[in-house]
């Protein structure tokens, strides 16, 4: 009996795994046919390379002070210098490290915690579902940036706390998406089949649910990284995130505001950097959504 019950399981899993591989290959192929998404992907890749190679490619130490204050862009300083004579290009390059790290880590927090809560709510049902969803409703009762500001107010201003704040603020969206997708997948034949074959809950979630609810979560996360980079830069602009002398784009814009009249470059280049990264993530996210969202796909 045990052998008979156990034998179809590997076949079912192989089929599922093959399905995921095929789905991934198909999605990649479709993505290549979308120029906007490809442009977005290339810009993201460019910024990732810049962030990783920052110590090698930056022309100067981002915190090195000099007497050459607020110098206009020149061959020596391509993006000019700031109020303390620091090289703006080097600070923009090192700023990429901070912004990408903040964006990725905060969304990783939201993705992991949110998905876990959403799947738990959908699977457990009853009072567990009710409790998780009411907590989500309460979090959604706060406009996003206000919740992040409130969390920074509790933890204190710093870039690390901004990362946590933006991560927590983003959790409800992932909880709702994961819950809704799990509820849909939970009733499908292959999950019911795995359940009737005696698979334990953890195995069902890891093997059958998570891979099948990944698509909407990936789309949400891609656009989410853009949102979290914007939010973190906004909080740093307000003085609640990165503290001096950290080279962070939002904080650079904040100090540039005082010198707008005669040092346009101080505000221009960090702003262009934020806009480009966010634009690229949105382009890539839009492309992914068009491919992976079943409503659009069908």
């Amino acid at each position: 009996m045990i052998r008979a019950a156990a034998s179809p399981r590997p076949q079912l899993e192989n089929l599922n795994a093959a399905g995921h591989r095929g789905w991934f290959r198909q999605a990649t192929r479709k993505l290549r046919r979308r120029p906007a998404a490809m442009i977005g992907g290339t810009i993201i890749l460019f910024f990732i390379v810049v962030a990783v190679l920052a110590p090698l490619i930056a022309p100067a130490d981002p915190n090195e002070i000099s007497t050459n204050r607020r110098a206009a862009p020149s061959l020596d300083h391509w993006f000019g210098t700031d109020e303390l004579g620091r090289d703006v290009l080097s600070r923009v390059i090192f700023g990429a490290q901070i912004s990408l790290r903040v964006g990725l880590i905060s969304i990783a927090i939201a993705l992991v915690v949110g998905s876990l809560l959403g799947v738990t709510a959908a699977f457990a049902g009853g009072w567990v579902d009710g409790l998780i969803m009411r907590l989500t409703d309460i979090m959604l009762a706060f406009p996003g940036i206000l919740l992040a500001i409130a969390i920074v107010a509790i933890l204190g201003p710093s870039i690390f706390n901004v990362m946590i704040a933006v991560g927590i603020e983003s959790i409800p969206a992932y909880t709702r998406t994961a819950r809704a997708s799990t509820l849909t997948v939970k009733g499908l034949d292959y999950v019911v089949g795995a359940q009737s074959l005696g698979a334990v809950r953890t195995r069902i979630v890891l093997r059958h649910i998570l891979p099948n609810i990944a698509a909407p979560l990936i789309v949400l996360a891609t656009v989410g990284v853009a949102g979290s980079i914007l939010a973190a830069a906004g909080l740093s602009y307000l003085g609640l995130g990165a503290q001096a002398p950290t080279a962070e784009w939002g904080a650079m814009l904040s100090s540039a505001r005082t010198y707008l009249r005669d040092s346009w470059w101080m505000a221009t280049f960090p702003g262009v950097a934020i806009m480009l990264v966010v634009l690229a993530l949105n382009l890539f996210g839009d492309g992914l959504r068009d491919i992976l969202d079943p409503r659009i796909r069908n």
């Binding site: 406009p143 940036i145 409130a150 107010a153 906004g234 505001r257």
Partner: protein, 305 residues
């Protein structure tokens, strides 16, 4: 309909209860001794003990929450540690400026966003559609604090068309544009998408088959149905814009809740922070309630489930 309205209103109660608990717990969730955090490192033990007594921190949490809520329902949000003034009065003084900016941005974003979305949907895949969607994508990607700085540089410093600071209507133009732009972009994308969805359904085909003018089909049949989900997004945008005004007010140094919030956080004045969080979140909850109820009126098919 009545059952839906009653249920939707009742649903607000646990949410407001949760919001009040979160606002109340803020000062207790601070790592370390909240009183020392509020007073700073130079505070003496006597100062800390006095403030702890004043804030009632020696009582059990439940008693503290009960006292806090009794105050809130009577319009007492506590006293600012920094200024010694009642928090509600301070918020009341600053709120009109923020509310005016938010309302102007909501109106501007709705008018511009919906118009652009309709224009894009009508010229689907044409150059108008492409340009509008490109602008919309740019709108959601440009940070408000940067677009604000650029506008100040262009319209305020170089061209001198608009005042950079001030409280008159002219000084409201730039902050409104900056605050409304991302919301208008979201609304344009949303309107275009729902319009395209509705354009493909049977009743539109029937309306066209009846020989109705395209203008009538769009305005009477398509737009009326397409705008239903857009109304919800406008409601959600209101909260986002209210909170987003914190940044925009900071860029334009406007005397609203934004500057007040930042100063409150920097000086760790928790009664002020709690007051702001409670007021803005409660307002957001009520706006969403109003939108949900409006939604049921606009579309009689919607009922609470």
């Amino acid at each position: 309909m009545t059952a839906y309205i009653v249920k939707r209103i009742l649903l607000v109660i646990p949410v407001l209860f949760g919001v009040s608990i979160l606002a109340f717990l803020m000062s207790h969730l601070v790592p370390g001794d909240p009183v020392v955090v509020m007073l700073g490192d130079r505070a003496t033990a006597e100062d800390a003990a006095r403030l702890r007594e004043e804030l009632g921190f020696n009582d059990p949490l439940v008693v503290q929450y009960g006292r806090y809520m009794t105050g809130v329902v009577q319009g007492d949000l506590g006293t600012s540690i920094r200024s010694g003034q009642p928090v509600l009065e301070e918020i009341r003084d600053r709120f009109p400026s923020t509310l005016i900016l938010t309302l102007c941005a909501v109106v501007a974003a709705s008018v511009v966003g919906v118009s652009l979305g309709v224009a894009a949907a009508i010229s689907k895949r044409g150059w108008v559609d492409g340009s509008i969607m490109a602008f919309a994508l740019l709108g959601i990607s440009v940070p408000t604090f940067w677009s604000g700085i650029l506008l100040i540089l262009l319209l305020g410093v170089k061209l001198e068309w608009l005042p950079i600071v001030g409280t008159g209507p002219a000084a409201l133009v730039m902050p409104t544009i900056v605050l409304a732009a991302p919301a208008a972009a979201v609304l344009a994308r949303m309107t275009r998408s729902t319009m395209l969805e509705v354009l493909g359904v049977d009743f539109v085909r029937s309306a066209r088959a009846k020989g109705l003018k395209e203008q009538v089909v769009i305005l009477r049949h398509v737009l009326r149905n397409a705008l239903i989900p857009v109304v919800t997004i406008i409601g959600l945008q209101f909260g986002g814009l209210l909170a987003g005004s914190v940044i925009v007010e900071s860029v334009f140094t406007r005397p609203g809740l934004g500057r007040y919030t930042i100063t409150a956080i920097q000086s760790r004045d928790f009664p002020q922070i709690q007051g702001i969080v409670l007021v803005v979140a409660a307002l957001y909850v009520f706006v969403n309630l109003a939108i949900d109820l409006l939604y049921a009126v606009i579309d009689p098919r919607i009922r609470y489930n």
